[in-house]
Amino acid sequence: MKSIKASTITMKTVIYIVCIFLSLLSIFPFWVMIMNATRSTYQIQQTSVALFPGKSLVNNWKILTGKSFNPWVGFVNSMIISTGTTICAVYFSSLTAYALVAYTWRLRNAFFSFIMAVLMIPAQVSGIGFYQFMYKIGWTNSLLPLILPAIAAPAMVFFMRQYLMATLSLDIVASARIDGSGEFRTFNQIILPIMKPAMATQAIFTFVGSWNNLFIPLILLTRQEKYTMPIMVSLLRGDIYKTEYGSVYLGLTLTVLPLFVIYFILSKYIIAGVALGALKE
């Protein structure tokens, strides 16, 4: 008895030490970023990494807003795009994954292989052709082409499928059918709740990825009122000798803040110590 307790305590000490170390390691760049947001460009050029704040916060803010950076507009646009992308991706990926797991149909395996193949296509291959295509059909300066393609998200379909394969029992589906529920209703009301942890985690990843996405929005959105937050931050960088580093870091900090909020909101699904499994006897 005693030895088990002792070993548990040493184990726990080890765990705490490691976790605290990792946490500090994780916070470090954010800390530097926030510190740099309060220092002037010249201070940053002299020492890029500092642990203590400077006095240039107000000045940096003035430069930021002076360069027609309207954080509110950027925030709204980024919010629309990221939320739309997340909802589309999560919902439709779950639907597609459900199709792959719950039903046996002839093309099922071929379709899955197809999705995997799409996943393996290097991102570069279709990225450019995509925006060039958008220019051709005149669909620039609109937020829709940044949201709709997320309906087809191979990585997420893959994840949801793996998750369903491990956690879904077809008995539930069968019993729902017996109860007279239509397939679509079964999916929405019974399956989706089971997938909450999977959906929450993927939602976070998608939201973050979409929020931070710079390149395609940069090329497709050329009117100022459509700019997203990362685009606005990139406006602060000019020629290498004219970049206002202090304001850039301030802009980056502002860009990251909403992500923290969303993350904290969704993270309770991951923190939950109780499994959200659906099979309770």
């Binding site: 050029q45 620039t140 990825g209 996405n213 390149f215 602060l236 000019g238």
Partner: protein, 484 residues
Amino acid sequence: MAGPPLVPYHEGGTEEACLFLYPDHENLHDAKEVSVMKRTMRILLMMALVASLAVSLFAMGAGEAPKDTRKIINLWSFTDEVPKMVEKYKQLHPEFDYEVRTTIIATTDGAYQPALDQALAGGGDNAPDLYCAEAAFVLKYTQGDAAHFAAPYKSLGINVDAKLKEADIAPYTVDIGTNDAGDLVGLGYQATGGAFIYRRSIAKDVWGSDDPAFVTSKVGPGWDRFFAAAEDLARKGYAIVSGDGDIWHAVEGSSPQGWIVNDKLFIDPTREAFLDMSKMMLEKGYNNDTTDWTDAWFADMKDAGSKKVFGFFGPAWLINYVMAGNSGGSKPGEGTYGDWGVCEPPVGFFWGGTWVLANNQSPVKNGVGKLIEWITLDSSNTGLQYYWANGTLDGPGGTKDTVASGTVMKKSDGTLPFLGGQNMFDVFVPAGAFATGKNKTQYDETINIYWRDQVDNYANGMKTKAQAIADFKRVVADNLAIDI
């Protein structure tokens, strides 16, 4: 991952997607996409342009710009410099009733050129009318693959020859801005001819005098004298420059030939000599072994490095935008502020600058022509050049800078407290004259990166010279498909 990389997958890059520029249009037929309306518009525009070009051909010399068919100008830039200039122009000329739509995409993420290229190729209402190109890639737009988009200045209603002479524009910027047919398609508003910026107190300590003419004779002309001066400085414990990057711009800019000669890679002997220069400086302690644009390089501007650094190579913007703020003070006496002087460099070079171009498919050439002329060729006291040189664009007390027009610089006041009261134009005007634009290629940005990488390896003893050169050639061939 298919589609735009919005949904991130584990570890891949989602932001900087690679780019394949598809050719625009009709060849790759997408029948429903190319709307009939668009096609008709394009044909009409073409006819209008041909007609107007025909008319202007008959007006000799000073071309008559075609009539503008709309009142919107699309301006593309990578900083807010040119947009701010345009705002000033509209203040000064309230009768200029065009609406200017600005698109700013920074170059630092490599996104500016692809977006610009796409917008130029795409044409239509959103195509740029007035666009900017930086020194690092301007050749592509004036003489290289994208040169066919640029409109000759004379087709914008500008009397090019007369104006060039009147404004006494530095020849190198004209060379860079002239296309293969001999027409001027782009000009820079800054003059970025380089000089040598040195510490007065160190000059006095080593040689007894800090007078610019005296220092000029000590550090040049030619590299032999420069390194002799380096030896003098080293004996007293000073480094002549901060890192090898500092002299690279001068070496590169002054070599007789560029990287491509007769469609093959060519290593000019003056550039090849840089390999040994770099190694020697390291071995003899002539520099602090820093890399430009890193913390340590900036620190050397205020004597925070291991050895005090005598000087930096650069154009006026280096003084005003980089060194002044990093000198550890903001008035004479604080840090190294006020302890600097500027003199002619051992060899002539230029570094950086922004060129402005017009789209030859633009329907607003008249308006664009007025803007371009005011920005680059107007040498009067209400031209941009004058405001820029004197730092009065946003009201008094702004940052001064050297401009392309020699006429303007001669009548402007370039004294800077940072330089101990010296008038920087006295040095930069001749410096501009002896810079050359004939040794540049559109591949320079990339080739220079590879070259300096190999030089670093050789100077630090990690390779032999033959190996470094061989690797350099191979990397250029592998990545750029240039014959070696």
